[in-house]
Every structure is written in structure tokens, then in C-alpha cells.
């Protein structure tokens, strides 16, 4: 499955074991994977080689994931962003979605659901390019949500 057109995913987290598991799972799905330990590194890598999707931890050592998210949306082309958080407060979810994140996933997550969310996010990207808009799945992909038009 490791074909050249497979999407590239950037994993941003400071927990090495989480990074390790995500890396394993994503590679298993056939994605190309890059890893960053903090926000600074994440932006550097994203600018050098724009990823299709960023798995972004909200609590980073050097800055907040929200700041990274805002900067990522300014890139051309802007990558899809899935926020990962262990804090799990609804205000933060709202804020993340307002800042342009596509999905907001709470730790600990089901690996299968996360992979499904990643797949759908990347698919909606493709559909959007085809002129079709599809509502995204919230959190672990079980509920329908339309974050861009109505974040509530």
C-alpha cells in the first residue's frame, strides 16, 4: 500500500510512547509518517514538506496546539488537522474547531476509530476537491458534526 500517492501524516506529540503507537498504526494503514516533538519542529516540518494531515496534541512543551493549528491553516495548501487532547473540556473542543481543526479527538481513543476518522478526513478532503462537501465525524467518528458551519 506504500504507494507514492499515499497521504502523508505528521504526528505532533511530546509523549514518546503515544508517538510510537501512532507511528505504528499509521504505517500499518500505509500512510507516510513524520514525527515532531514540539510545535516549533512541527511547523518547520510542515513548511518544508506540507503534509496532508496533522495529528496534533493540544498540550505541547513549547506552545499550545491551538497556536500550531492556527499557523498550519495559513499554509498553502493547508493540511487537514485532527486535534488530540487529554484534557477533554468542551470549551477547548469548541476553540479548536473554531481555529479550523477538522476533528477533535479525546485521549484515550480507540485506535480503530481514530484510523477511521483519519481516513474519512482525508476522504472528505478529496471529495471537497471534487466539489462535494461532507460533514465530518466528531471525536471518535461516531457522531455527525459540522464544525465549519456550526460548531455547536
Amino acid at each position: 500500500m506504500a504507494e507514492p500517492e499515499m497521504p502523508k501524516v505528521l504526528v505532533v506529540d511530546d509523549e514518546p510512547n503515544i508517538v510510537l503507537s501512532l507511528e505504528f498504526l499509521l504505517r500499518q494503514e500505509g500512510y507516510r509518517v513524520e514525527v515532531a516533538r514540539d510545535g516549533d519542529e512541527a511547523l518547520r516540518r510542515a513548511r518544508a514538506e506540507p503534509p496532508d494531515l496533522v495529528l496534533l496534541d493540544v498540550m505541547l512543551p513549547d506552545c499550545s496546539g491551538f497556536d500550531v493549528c492556527r499557523h498550519l491553516r495559513d499554509l498553502q495548501p493547508a493540511p487537514r488537522v485532527i486535534l488530540l487532547t487529554a484534557r477533554g473540556r468542551s470549551v477547548e473542543r469548541l476553540r479548536g474547531l473554531e481555529l479550523g481543526a477538522d476533528r477533535y479527538v479525546t485521549k484515550p481513543f480507540s485506535t480503530r476509530d481514530l484510523m477511521a476518522v483519519i481516513r474519512e478526513t482525508l476522504q472528505s478532503d478529496r471529495l471537497e476537491q471534487d466539489g462535494l462537501e461532507q460533514d465530518g465525524l466528531e471525536q471518535d467518528g461516531l457522531e455527525q458534526d459540522s464544525p465549519k458551519s456550526d460548531p455547536s
Binding site: 510512547n17 505504528f24 498504526l25
Partner: protein, 935 residues
């Protein structure tokens, strides 16, 4: 001395006094008052010093030594108290337009005509002997000037036709001048500015005259005071006078009686209260008047001694020493000055007393009797009638004085006659002072008290003096009436330890005060009485005359014209118009717009009229034209109660609303703090959730990977499983720490403490990380003060702190760790763990001790290590802080107090805390550094 010289000098002096008074009145009319001056006010009070002071003090001193002093100590004390009592009397009198002391008493007790008349009678009866005394002093001094000091005393002089003729002449002249001074004006105002100025002037003259003779006696006749006193000391009779021999009881009563006299003698009330133009003058008088008394008494003893030395005892009446000495020495000019001084003192007293008494007689005795007929007859000019009444009453009063003089005063000394008057006016004290401070004092109480007091006074004081006249049998005085011994006037109920004055004062005031309180306590007040009581007692609390307008005593159906014509008959057209215009202007109403007089106007008219007729008569006069509201006492009391209740309620409400404001401010503040705390709690919970979920995430992910991928290589499987285990441990540790923290914050029991050798503990901690230190290639520099005493600590907790600090240091160290255990001279032990790592920025230092505040998030840790350390150190009474180490890294130091920890506070002898099986063992202390945290 030639008679014509004496007469011309005396006449000239009286003329001068009259000129001064005339000038004072002129100035007052032109609005440039000389009386509006505290000096004049204070000097006018010196009308207290009469011929009694001028001649009599020396007489008293010659027989009693310092016994003359209480009469001046009393007023001095009163002057000090005057700022309290006199100020209140002055304030009330101005507001109520009080014209005399009788008016004051009448007005206080519901404008009672009976009380006004009674006080007038008491004042006249009491003061007549006093006036007689002045007449006698002037007559005697005149005779002395004529014949020289050879006239041996007055007892013999009284028999002579010359004395009678002279005293009659003196009385006539005094009457003339009293009428001229006091009733010169047709318009009867309550104030006499010219008179006050003349009194102030004569006060200076008598002082100068007395000082002149005193200085002459002391320094010319003798060689200074020491010479004079040395010579007096040589005479046994005189030496005795220099020592205090009176009884304290007598002295005290003298002081009391004179304290009251200075307030309630009609002439003192006249100058101090009625003539007062400015309350502030009281302050000057409070020290100036006592000073005057002191100065005028300076030479009393020297003159008394000189007279006794010069004339011997008995040959010359001591009361005349002041004049006899210069006459005997041929000092005619000085003698003339002394004569003028004595004349001055007597004249001042007589005139002011006559003005005061005649006002009382006309306003409070005669006018109420003739008022009704006068009003009915529509007599157009009541003012002229009043003036006539006053002139006649002056003649009558002086005539009574003359009679008393001829009948009795020839026997008694000047001082004892004066004291009889003092005792009489002292009877007014309970009614006046009680009325000033006790709202419950009633008219009936005052009436009964006055009558009873005066009866006792009359029986114990003047009656015995009359026995010499033959009007009263001598046996009555000596053996008691009808032979009843305990009714003897000078020793009632066998009380004969006091001198007559003290004896009389004791009984009369006892009866007086007793009746006053007893009768007043039975109540029974009219509406007007209730209101007046309130106006008097609460005078300082009320801001203006409109204060009690709620209390309606008049019905508003009297035409204004009726009130006006009434006023015109007493005050004249011009004064009435001016006063009414001023009243309207003050109330901001058009003078012509009011047809019917309202409550306020009638009250104003009554007060205005009171200034001329006195309160009682003014009340009757107004009542004759205006209709009274049928107000019952019950209603008035109810109204007053209501007012005070409303006031109290509104005060209460104010207090309540203030309290509510305070409470709501406190609530707001508390709410703010609660909200801040709530935010902190939310943050803490979110952070804690994050810390717990992070290892859970890894565990779940790897477990699912292992579950979903059965074909994983054994190597990978092992690797993932070990991660799962590690994260599991991390989670367990974290939960343990959270529980730890909760326990520490809740305050652990002291039972887990024991005797700990800190030196050993530090070694143990360093040893336990030895393996890691070796692996990292770090060197540990250990400096330990071996003197460190055994301390009473929670061993495991302190070890936990040490390990936490060491693991942090190890994590950041570049190859060096410093551990120091040292003692501070001020009784603390310091433990410091330092590294040579990057250190912590100064701004971040306080925050590293906050929960979940990892300064550098890159470090994997719970964020609870240092907060737990702080909790443990603080629970031991110590402090912990962070600073820069000598190698640029971080140094964390904690400091424990030796004193608090040096002994077993609970009396537990166990050195080993683990001996207590119930103690909850803390989380494994060594676990801290497996996942080193920097905060």
C-alpha cells in the same frame, strides 16, 4: 475731710459712670457695640465683687484669717464649669428671650406665672439684706470720710441720727441712679449695653482702688510683705489667723453656696446671661474672671494684719480697715480713691441688682396681675406702664433695703449679711439645674421645692438675726420655739456642729432637693410643660426653632392683624414692623400674603413679646388673642414619642443598610475569590485528567495493537508489552502521588513522626541513587554538618523530599550534583540540592511549586513532585525555595526549624515511625525518581 469735697467727688464719679453708660448706649445704637467684647463681658461679671468684697473681706480676714476665701473659690470653680452649665443657660435664654432668672424658671416649667412670681419674691426677699449691706457700707464709708477713723465701729454709729440721715441720702441717690441706668429707655429691651459698659468700668475702678491701698499698706506703711507678716507673726492673735482653723464642713458649704450664688444671684444672671451678646465670650471669662478674683484678694490679708497692728483689736471695726488705714495716716487722696472704689462696688451692685429685680417684679409679679385688665381696657401703650412699674419697684426694693438696714444690719458684719442672701438664691439651684438636665422635672415639683427650701432658709438664717430687733423673742432662738430644743433655728434636730450658714444650707437644700425629686417623680405635666422641658434640656440637640413645630399648641385662625396690634401695644409700631418684616424675610414669605397667623408666627410673636414682658406674661397675652389648640398631655407625649421613635427607626434603618452594604461587599469579594478558586479547581481537574489520560492512551493503543495484530514478531510484542507495563506503573505512581498530596494538604497526623538522624537520612538518599549516578557519569559533592541534632520528623516523607530533589537534579545535571546539610546559627537546619543544569528562570521559580506546573513541559513528569515536597516541608513548619546554584544550575533548598522539631511534642518515645502499624505508609518514596520531574 470737707463734706462738699466728698459729695462733689462721689457725685462726679456717679456722673462719670452715667456718661460711660450713655456713651455705651450711643455706640450700641449706631451698631458699633463696645459690649461685643469678651473683656467687657468678663469685667462685667466682676459685679460679683461688691462692697462686701471691698470692705468685708478684710473684716472677715481680721477675725477668721483665710476664712474669707471660700466665697471666691466657689465662683472660680463655677467659672471652670461655666462652659458646661452657663453655656447651656445662655443658649436657652437667647432662644427663649429670657429676661430674668424668674423668667427662666417660669419658662422652663410651662411658662408658669406662679413660679415666676415665687422666684421673684424669693429673689427680692433674699437680696434685700444684700442691698442693705451695700447701703450700709456706703453710708459708713461716708461718715468715716467726714469724721475720720475715730468713729468706733458701726454698732454705735447706727444709733446716731447722722447714720440714719446718711443712709437715707445714699438710698435716695442709689434709687435715682438705678432708675436712670435701668429704666432710662422707653423701649424695653431685655439688654442694657450702656449699663454693662459702666459696670465693666466700675470693676476696673474698684480693683485699682483696692490694689492701690494694698500696695500702699504693704510697701509704704510696712517694708514689704515679709516685714508685715513677720510683725503679725509676733502677735499671737494674728499668728493664729495665718493657719487654717475652720472646719472642712463649713468651708465646703461656703464653696457650694458661692458656686450657686455666682450663677443665680439676679444681678449675676443679668450680666452673665441676659446681657451676654456672644456665647464665645464665656471662654474668655472662664479664666479672666477667676484671675480678677485672685488679684482683688491679693492684699486682703496684708490689710487685715496692718489694720490689726495699727489699731489693735476692738477699737476700729475691721470692716473699715481699708478706709481707716489711709485716713489714720493722713493719706487723704488715697482715702478718697478708696471711698470711690467702695462707692463704685456698691453702686454697681445696687444698680444691676435693681434692674434685674425690677424686671422680675414688673414682668413676673405685677404684669400677670394687671395684664388681663390692661388688655381688656385696650390701653394703647403698655410699654410706658411697664416702665412705671419698674421704676416704682426699684424704689420699693431700695426702700425695703433701707428698712432692713435700719432694723437689723447694724449688728451683723458685712460678710454674714451677704451670705444670708447667697443662701436664699441657692434655693433656686435645684429647680434650675434640675430643669436643665432632667426632662421629668415638673412645675409642681419646682414650686413645692422652692417654697419648702425658702421656709427652711427663712427659719434658720434671717429669723435669728431678727431676734435682735425684738420682733422675734430671743428665747425662741436660744431655747427653740415653745421650748422645743430640736427646733432651734440654728441647730435643727440637734445639728449644732456647723456654723449658721452651713447649717442652713444643709437643711434647706436637703428639703429643697428632696421635695423637688419626690414631687416631680409623681408626674402631672401640662402639654406646654412637656414641650418647654424638651426645649430646655435638649437645647444643644435642636438645630433651629422649627424643630418642634410638629407640636401644635395654637390653632391657626387668628388674624395676623390681631397679633400685630398686640405687639404694637407692647413694643411700639416701629419695632413691631421691623420684627415682623424680619420674620417674614427669614421664612421667605410675602409680608402681606398672610392673613391668619400660623403656629410659627404666634410662637415668634410670643418670644418677641417675652423679651419685654417675660415668658409667662407673653404667653398669657398671646393666649388672649389667639385660640389654643385643645392639646392633651397624652397627645404631646405621644407626638414626642412618635418623633423619637421615627428617629430611632430611621437610625436603625441606616445602620441596617450600612450593614447590608458591608455584607454585600464582603459577599462580592468572597464570590470573586470563589470564582477564582473555581477556575483553579477546573484547571486542576483538567490538568489532572490530562496527566491520567496520557499513560492510559499509550496503554490502550498498544493493547489494541497487540490485540488486533496477532502476527506481530515476538520482539515487537515484548517491546509493546513493556511499554504497557511502564505506563501502567506511571499511572499507579501518579494516582499514589495525588493521594499523597491530598493527604499532606489535609494535614497528616503527627503520630507518623519519630526521632530522625538527618545526616544518616541524607546519606541514605544519596546512596539510593548511586547506581543512576554512576550510569550517568555524574559526581555527587556531599557536604554534611555532623553536628546536626536528632530531629522529630516524618522519616519517609523527608526521604521522599530528598529523593525528589535528587532525581530532579540528576535529570538536569551536566555532571555535577551538590548536596549540603548545614546548620544556621538562628536555629534552623538547611538542606540544599543543586545541579549544574540549565536552571530555572527567576520568573518561573514560584510557579514550580504549584501543582501540575511543569515549567518546561518537555520533561516527562507528573508535575506533582515539587508541590508534594512543599507540602511535606511546610507540614514540618519549614520553607522551601529555589535559586541559582554556584554552577549556574538550580538549587532547591528546604529549611526546618530546630526548636519546633528538636523534641517529641506528643511525648512519644518511639524513634521508629514504622513501629506504628496503623500508620498509613506513604507512596514508595524511591519511586519518585524513576520518572524524574522538574516540577
Amino acid at each position: 475731710m470737707a463734706p462738699w469735697l466728698i459729695v462733689v467727688t462721689a457725685g462726679g464719679y456717679l456722673g462719670l459712670l452715667f456718661a460711660v453708660a450713655w456713651w455705651g448706649d450711643r455706640r450700641a445704637e449706631r451698631g458699633r457695640s463696645l459690649v461685643a467684647n469678651p473683656w467687657v463681658y468678663a469685667l462685667s461679671l466682676a459685679v460679683y465683687c461688691t462692697a462686701w468684697t471691698f470692705y468685708g473681706s478684710v473684716g472677715r480676714a481680721a477675725t477668721d484669717g483665710v476664712g474669707f476665701l471660700p466665697i471666691y473659690l466657689g465662683p472660680t470653680l463655677t467659672a471652670a464649669l461655666s462652659l458646661l452649665v452657663l453655656r447651656k443657660i445662655v443658649r436657652i435664654s437667647k432662644r427663649e428671650r429670657i429676661t430674668s432668672i424668674a423668667d427662666f424658671v417660669a419658662s422652663r416649667y410651662g411658662k408658669s406665672r406662679a413660679l415666676g412670681a415665687l422666684v421673684t419674691v424669693i429673689a427680692v426677699l433674699g437680696v434685700v439684706p444684700y442691698i442693705a449691706l451695700q447701703l450700709k457700707a456706703v453710708a459708713v464709708s461716708f461718715l468715716l470720710m467726714l469724721d475720720g477713723p475715730s468713729a468706733s465701729g458701726l454698732a454705735t454709729a447706727g444709733d446716731s441720727a447722722a447714720f440714719v440721715r446718711t443712709s437715707l441720702g445714699v438710698t435716695a441717690v442709689m434709687a435715682l441712679f438705678a432708675i436712670l441706668f435701668g429704666t432710662r429707655h422707653l423701649d424695653l429691651t431685655e439688654r442694657h449695653e450702656g449699663l454693662v459698659l459702666a459696670v465693666a468700668f466700675e470693676s476696673v475702678v474698684k480693683l485699682v482702688a483696692f490694689l492701690a491701698v494694698g500696695v500702699w499698706v504693704t510697701y509704704s506703711l510696712f517694708a514689704g510683705p515679709s516685714d508685715l507678716f513677720a510683725r503679725a507673726e509676733a502677735v499671737p492673735d494674728l499668728a493664729r489667723l495665718m493657719r487654717f482653723e475652720g472646719s472642712w464642713g463649713t468651708w465646703s458649704w461656703m464653696v457650694v453656696v458661692s458656686m450657686l450664688a455666682i450663677l443665680f444671684l439676679p444681678r449675676q444672671f443679668q450680666v452673665a446671661v441676659v446681657e451676654n451678646v456672644d456665647e464665645a465670650h464665656l471662654e474668655r471669662a472662664a479664666w479672666l474672671f477667676p484671675l480678677y478674683l485672685l488679684v482683688i484678694n491679693l492684699f486682703v490679708l496684708p490689710i487685715a494684719f496692718a489694720g490689726s497692728l495699727r489699731f489693735g483689736t476692738g477699737s476700729v471695726d475691721a470692716d473699715t480697715f481699708v478706709l481707716s488705714l489711709p485716713l489714720a495716716e493722713g493719706q487723704e487722696a488715697l482715702a478718697l480713691l478708696v471711698f470711690l472704689g467702695g462707692l463704685s462696688a456698691a453702686t454697681g451692685m445696687v444698680i444691676v441688682e435693681c434692674v434685674a429685680l425690677s424686671t422680675m417684679v414688673s414682668n413676673d409679679l405685677v404684669l400677670p396681675l394687671i395684664l388681663r385688665q390692661t388688655l381688656d381696657r385696650r390701653d394703647p401703650d403698655v410699654g410706658r406702664l411697664l416702665l412705671t412699674v419698674r421704676r416704682v419697684s426699684i424704689l420699693v426694693i431700695l426702700g425695703l433695703g433701707q428698712l432692713y438696714l435700719l432694723a437689723t444690719a447694724l449688728e451683723a458684719s458685712l460678710v454674714s449679711v451677704g451670705l444670708i442672701s447667697f443662701a436664699a438664691v441657692a434655693q433656686l439651684a435645684p429647680a434650675i439645674l434640675g430643669g436643665l438636665y432632667w426632662r421629668g422635672a415638673t412645675r409642681r415639683g419646682a414650686l413645692v421645692a422652692l417654697i419648702a427650701g425658702v421656709v427652711v432658709w427663712g427659719y434658720t438664717l434671717p429669723l435669728p438675726t431678727l431676734s435682735t430687733t425684738g420682733w422675734v423673742s430671743a428665747s425662741w432662738v436660744d431655747a427653740g420655739p415653745f421650748g422645743v430644743g430640736w427646733l432651734r433655728p440654728t441647730a435643727l434636730f440637734g445639728l449644732d456642729a456647723l456654723d449658721p450658714i452651713a447649717h442652713s444650707m444643709f437643711w434647706s437644700l436637703l428639703v429643697n432637693v428632696g421635695c423637688f425629686i419626690a414631687v416631680s417623680s409623681r408626674g402631672g405635666r401640662s402639654a406646654l410643660e412637656v414641650r418647654q422641658a424638651r426645649r430646655f434640656v435638649d437645647v444643644f440637640r435642636q438645630t433651629g426653632p422649627g424643630d418642634d413645630t410638629a407640636l401644635r399648641l395654637w390653632r391657626a385662625d387668628t388674624p395676623v392683624d390681631t397679633v400685630r396690634s398686640l405687639l404694637e401695644r407692647f413694643l411700639g409700631v416701629e419695632r413691631t414692623q421691623t420684627a415682623l418684616a424680619a420674620h417674614c424675610a427669614q421664612r421667605k414669605i410675602e409680608p402681606g400674603s398672610m392673613r391668619y397667623a400660623d403656629e410659627e408666627l404666634i410662637e415668634f410673636a410670643e418670644r418677641l413679646l417675652a423679651g419685654t414682658t417675660g415668658a409667662a406674661s407673653a404667653h398669657v397675652a398671646l393666649a388672649s388673642v389667639a385660640t389654643r389648640e385643645p392639646v392633651s398631655v397624652h397627645e404631646v407625649v405621644h407626638l414626642l414619642d412618635e418623633t423619637s421613635r421615627v428617629l430611632a427607626t430611621s437610625r436603625e434603618l441606616e445602620d441596617k443598610s450600612r450593614q447590608l452594604e458591608d455584607a454585600s461587599a464582603r459577599l462580592r469579594e468572597a464570590n470573586k475569590q470563589l470564582r477564582a478558586l473555581d477556575r483553579l479547581k477546573d484547571d486542576f481537574l483538567a490538568t489532572m485528567a490530562h496527566e491520567l489520560r496520557t499513560p492510559l492512551t499509550s496503554i490502550r493503543s498498544f493493547t489494541e495493537i497487540l490485540h488486533d495484530n496477532p502476527d506481530l514478531s515476538l520482539e515487537e510484542r515484548q517491546r509493546f508489552l513493556s511499554i504497557v507495563l511502564k505506563e501502567n506503573e506511571r499511572l499507579t505512581r501518579l494516582i499514589g502521588q495525588i493521594l499523597d498530596l491530598a493527604k499532606i494538604e489535609a494535614g497528616e497526623s503527627a503520630a507518623t513522626r519519630g526521632a530522625v538522624d538527618l545526616v544518616e537520612l541524607v546519606h541514605e538518599a544519596v546512596d539510593s541513587i548511586a547506581r543512576l549516578v554512576e550510569e550517568r557519569g555524574v559526581s555527587v559533592a556531599l557536604r554534611v554538618d555532623d553536628e546536626t541534632p536528632i530531629l522529630w520528623l516524618d522519616r519517609d516523607r523527608i526521604l521522599q523530599v530528598l529523593l525528589n530533589l535528587l532525581s530532579n537534579a540528576l535529570k538536569w545535571s551536566d555532571g555535577w550534583i551538590g548536596v549540603d546539610l548545614s546548620l544556621e546559627p538562628d536555629g534552623h537546619v538547611l538542606v540544599a540540592v543543586a545541579d549544574d543544569g540549565p536552571g530555572i528562570a527567576e520568573d518561573d521559580r514560584p510557579r514550580v511549586f504549584e501543582k501540575f506546573r511543569q515549567v518546561d513541559g518537555s520533561a516527562p513528569g507528573t508535575g506533582l513532585g515539587l508541590p508534594i515536597c512543599r507540602g511535606i516541608v511546610e507540614s514540618h513548619g519549614g520553607t522551601i525555595w529555589i535559586e541559582t546554584s554556584e554552577r549556574g544550575g538550580a538549587r532547591v533548598t528546604f529549611r526546618l526549624p530546630l526548636d519546633d522539631l528538636s523534641s517529641d511534642p506528643a511525648g512519644l518515645a518511639t524513634a521508629d515511625p514504622t513501629a506504628d502499624p496503623t500508620a498509613d505508609p506513604p507512596a514508595d518514596p524511591t519511586a519518585t525518581f524513576e520518572g524524574p520531574s522538574h516540577g
